[in-house]
Amino acid sequence: MSVSNLLENWAQVRHEHPNNDKPHDPYKWAMAIDLDACTGCNACSIACYAENNIPVVGKERFQHGQQMHWMRVERYWDEDGREFPDQGFQFLPMMCQQCEAAPCETVCPVAATNHTADGLNSQIYNRCIGSRYCSANCPFKVRYFNWYDYPTDEMVWPAEMQQQMNPDVSVRSKGVMEKCTFCVQRLSAAKVKAKGEGRIVAEGEVQTACQQACPTSAISFGNLVNPDSRVHKQWAAQQVELDKDKQAKNEEEEASELRGYRILEELRAYPSVMYLERVRESAV
């Protein structure tokens, strides 16, 4: 806490991330979700429940909007006066966007949510006091609060069901906020393994649970810094840049013919998830 420490490291503590920072090194976890491939089947969401010990809250609490699905699949259709939604629906898997300049991080009174070195928006459960300010300030509303003590709830986790819980993931008690972690337990394991072998995590070495389950491989996940990663290539091909709130491709006069975008980009939260627009045939 000493002032000398403050003065010595002045330049460092005045660094703004990511605006005037060097890129994450060696990791920056990111995602790309192809909405044209997503069929809305919910496999990702259930995989997430299985991997991350997410409580099933039951009908009554769901009715009160207290569901905990870290990954929710949203469904939209056009309402333009046509009798039928004859171009189908649009599905959108929505989870924590792991923003680079996350609105939730700044507002937590106890610093329970922070930015990690590999570009995740971390949530420290045992530091959380449950002020819910982070969720209040989340534009995507992807943070979920433990309104009840689910681990001790007989309907949620009867003794038998508790044996299914993933020991790598903490069980959250009442009063703490939680959200998608990009399966940080898997990332940590892979990073530790790679570190032991003196390398960085290779492309494809680690998958998130949702990515792994997705029957259409709509989700790709990886290290954005690694030029060999599929995510890096996808982001590059779609000309979406992490620390931009307006993509250069959209400024050009000609339409870009690219379909990569980030949701609510204009809020400058710099999400780490790029979506690829759903495509619909114009010939029928």
């Binding site: 806490m1 000493s2 002032v3 420490n5 403050l6 490291n9 460092q12 503590v13 005045r14 660094h15 703004e16 991330h17 990511p18 605006n19 923003c99 680079e100 300049a101 996350a102 991080e105 700044t106 610093a111 922070n114 930015h115 990690t116 928006n121 400058r268 939260a269 710099y270």
Partner: protein, 176 residues
Amino acid sequence: MSKRHLLALYGNFEEAEAVVQELRNATIKGFDVNDDMIVKSPIEHPEVERFLGDKPVYVQWFTLVGALLGGILGFSLISGAQANFYMQLKGGKPIVPFPPNFVLTYEMFILGGVFITILGFLICAGLPAKRSPLYSTKVSVDNIAILVEADESAISELKAIFTKHKALEIQEEAGK
């Protein structure tokens, strides 16, 4: 030489003022009007200062010191803590950001100011104080009291002055 206290009560301010004027003009041995006289009043009379002479108040210096200290300490404590706590990295913000620290500094500035002012008040006003040897609860109603401390020799003279101005009551400290 032993000193004794004398307390005189007056019903209104003009009378008290007249007494003070007289005490001021009279030269009584063993009694210094500036050091040995205390005027007690039920309300704050700004006029008292006029006839007691210009007595300085130092509370505001405490205020200045307190506010500055609060502000500086506040800022360095907060920034120092932030600089030491790298876990606190917030996306889009530096580790030691100015706008929030300014707000907190501002609050600390006021907090320091208020606390030290109160401290200053207690010191300057000599509170908490031992009760003076002579006191009348009538002061807390509507009387003005003049408490003097003087040598044994001056007591009678002072008493005479008080009586002359029709003191409602005169209390005398028992001799030692």
